[in-house]
Amino acid sequence: MSAFWSAWVTVITLAVILGCTWLLLQTRKSENFKEETDQTLGHEFDGIAEYDNPLPKWWFQMFMATVIFGLIYLVLYPGLGNFKGLLGWTSTGQWEEEMAHAEEVYKPVFGKYAALSVEELQKPENAAGLKMGQRMFANNCSLCHGTAGTGAFGFPNLADSDWLYGGAPETIKQTIVNGRQGAMPAWGAVLGEEGVRDVTSYVLTLSGLESDAEAAARGKTQFQALCTACHGVDGKGMQALGAPNLTDDVWLYGNSFEKVAHTIRAGRNGVMPAHKDLLSDDKIQLITAYVYSLSNK
């Protein structure tokens, strides 16, 4: 807040409180606190007139108490523009405090299992740890990867045995901690539309899908020139880069001719977000164990 708006808020806030107080004091009968008066307000409807009685004492005192409360509050807590309040309370601070408290309470619970290796956690006696992992997976991962980890269009299936980057526990953990960038470049400008269709035909043959043999033969040459750097000479992919295996039945972006052509033409950009700032190491360890368990039953 700029100085002007800060002053604006402060002045208005205090003016309203003081104004209410002034009004309260003004409307209070000064004649020795008389409880009741015979004065009427001077208007009359159908013979009904209203006494000019002051506010009942308890009511007046309650009002005053709210004024005092308000002033004390404004001194202690932020409320007057940029003034931070004497207690230095902030909502972020409170959130951090509560998070720290939760960490303190639950760390031993997670820690007990997180100290174990992923393989250890697969054992039946550590089922409770795996269950925690499952719950955290449901909260943090299932939105993209599905409740059962079976993935969706553009989101890898974690429950099968096919891995883009490898399925070793350490690799899975790396994926969760640092995230991944699955970048498939766009080849449309390089290949031209004809070329894209040819390469698509060839790629479909790799996993035994039907396609135009002539076009596939043309596409093979281009594939060897452009694609093997990542997907390998045999099209089996490269886990170091996260380049998918093109010879199996697993298709992250669909295996219809049009979908594959689109992948080659416009490229794909899959993002697995890094979770190192979102989840503690203990939690990631348990989620890793759960993800590992999906394909290693």
């Binding site: 059962a148 969706a152 697993v250």
Partner: protein, 470 residues
């Protein structure tokens, strides 16, 4: 029938203020004995004993009646209720309300006089008061007298007794929410948690204030039932009433004198009925809204009548019709109607309770996508099963599917759920593409306990696939 004396609150002249505030007069309840008092002592004692002891009963090695709020589980003897069973609680409360209506139509304010906790505790406190300070006259004198060591001692004893009753009640109450055996041990060791401390303190203070200080003020000014119970009355409802025809003209007389000749009725104007009344009314003015139908005046008057050698029942349980010389009709449409509704609800409630399946199954289809294609070419749907085992023992459940031939459950169909646990269990159903004739099918999932086939729930859901290529 004379008119009940009313307070005239018409504004006097213009410009004169009227104060509608009724100053409280302290009521000194006199000691008495009698049939209805015994009845109330028995009913009150039964309820107090239940209140104090039910939390100590055990069932399968745990507290029989425990409302476990943190875990959202409510144990009542052999049954465990979850928040999902809230409907049952609603119906129970509705049944209790109707019971109250039924009883009120039949016998007036029976609840207030004999069963209401406010009153049961009030009588308990009045007893403590009499124990410490003596009966009515002594108490009045004591309150009027100047402070002295004796007065201080008596008052201290009284308040100590009150606080003792209040605190034990509070501990007994909190013991239904926090296991009482540990609670009492904690109280003894002064190691209570902040919440238990707060609730015990709050309920103790509330008991002390309600039964010690507020008493009849609660019934007269605060209680909602007192406000609306009169609409349930009809002319055949049992009320406590003074038999005016017999009692008037009231007046003092010598015992054995021929009072009828003097033109007097049976009422000797001793004010005993007023002195024993816990709400401080004179029953001889007719039925009043303050009256909680506790029967104290009946007992007190019968006692006097006996001593005078007159017939009992000058103040008695009777009905308006009887007082007017008609006969009372017991079976009237209103009463019969309440009875039928009450019986029907009670039967339905018992049936529901008896046939309750201690299992809860929710099926949530996975969001995000309708179906996916597994690498083996099958169409796959993912569901999240939430299985809640509401029983006190662990169970193994078998999950089975029906409604679509060729549908396969990929995951382990047998799952173990511990007692009182809510398990999230994702399952995958697969169907080969050539079996698909429609884009979606209705299917049924059944979860059944392996060891008890009566614990079984079937839920309907859908299986969705791509539109088949024609």
């Amino acid at each position: 029938m004379n008119q009940i004396p009313v307070k005239d609150v018409t504004p006097k002249g213009k410009g004169e203020a009227v104060n509608l505030y009724a100053e409280r007069e302290h009521i000194y309840v006199k000691f008495y004995k009698g049939f209805f008092k015994n009845f109330r002592i028995i009913s009150g004692a039964i309820m107090l004993i239940m209140f104090y002891t039910f939390s100590w009963l055990q069932w399968d090695g745990r507290q029989a009646v425990l409302f476990d709020l943190p875990n959202r589980q409510f144990h009542v003897f052999g049954m465990t209720f979850w928040p999902q069973d809230f409907m049952l609680l609603s119906w129970l409360l509705i049944i209790l309300a109707f019971t109250l209506f039924f009883v009120t139509v039949f016998a007036g304010r029976l609840w207030c006089g004999y069963a209401c906790p406010q009153f049961v505790w009030t009588w308990l406190f009045i007893w403590a008061e009499r124990f410490a300070e003596g009966d009515r006259n002594q108490r009045m004198r004591l309150d009027k007298s100047a402070w002295s060591m004796t007065k201080l001692r008596k008052k201290a004893v009284k308040h100590a007794l009150w606080l003792f009753i209040a605190i034990t009640s509070a501990i007994a109450f909190v013991g239904y929410f926090s296991p009482i055996r540990e609670l009492v041990a904690d109280v003894a060791a002064f190691s209570l948690g902040p919440w238990e401390m707060w609730w015990i303190g709050f309920i103790a203070v509330a008991t002390y204030a309600n039964a010690g200080w507020l008493r009849e003020q609660v019934c007269i000014y605060m209680c909602p039932y007192a406000r609306f119970q009169s609409v349930m009355f009809d002319q055949d409802t049992l009320i406590i009433s003074y038999d005016e025809a017999r009692g008037e003209n009231r007046g003092k007389r010598k015992k054995g004198a021929d009072y009828k000749a003097e033109g007097l009725g049976d009422c000797i104007d001793c004010d005993n009925c007023v002195h024993v009344c816990p709400v401080g009314i004179d029953i001889r003015d007719g039925l009043q809204y303050e009256c909680v139908a506790c029967g104290a005046c009946v007992d007190a008057c019968d006692d006097i009548m006996e001593r005078m050698g007159y017939e009992k029942g000058l103040v008695r349980y009777t009905t308006e019709h009887q007082l007017e010389g008609h006969t009372t009709k017991l079976l009237r449409p209103r009463l019969i109607g309440y009875f039928i509704v009450l019986t029907a609800m009670f039967v339905a409630f018992s049936y529901t309770l008896y046939n309750r399946v201690p299992l809860e199954v929710d099926i949530l289809r996975d969001r995000g996508q309708l179906y996916n294609e597994a690498s083996n070419g099958m169409i796959e749907n993912v569901y999240k099963l939430k299985i809640a085992n509401k029983e006190q023992q662990d169970h193994q459940y078998r999950i089975s599917i029906s409604g679509l031939d060729g549908l396969k459950l990929i995951d382990d169909p047998v799952v173990t759920v511990k007692a009182g646990e809510l398990l999230d269990y994702p399952i995958r159903l697969q169907l080969s593409r050539d079996r698909l004739e429609r884009p979606n099918y209705d299917i049924q999932l059944t979860v059944e306990a392996l060891d008890n086939s009566s614990i079984s729930i079937t839920e309907a859901n859908r299986f969705i696939g791509p539109a088949p290529r024609r």
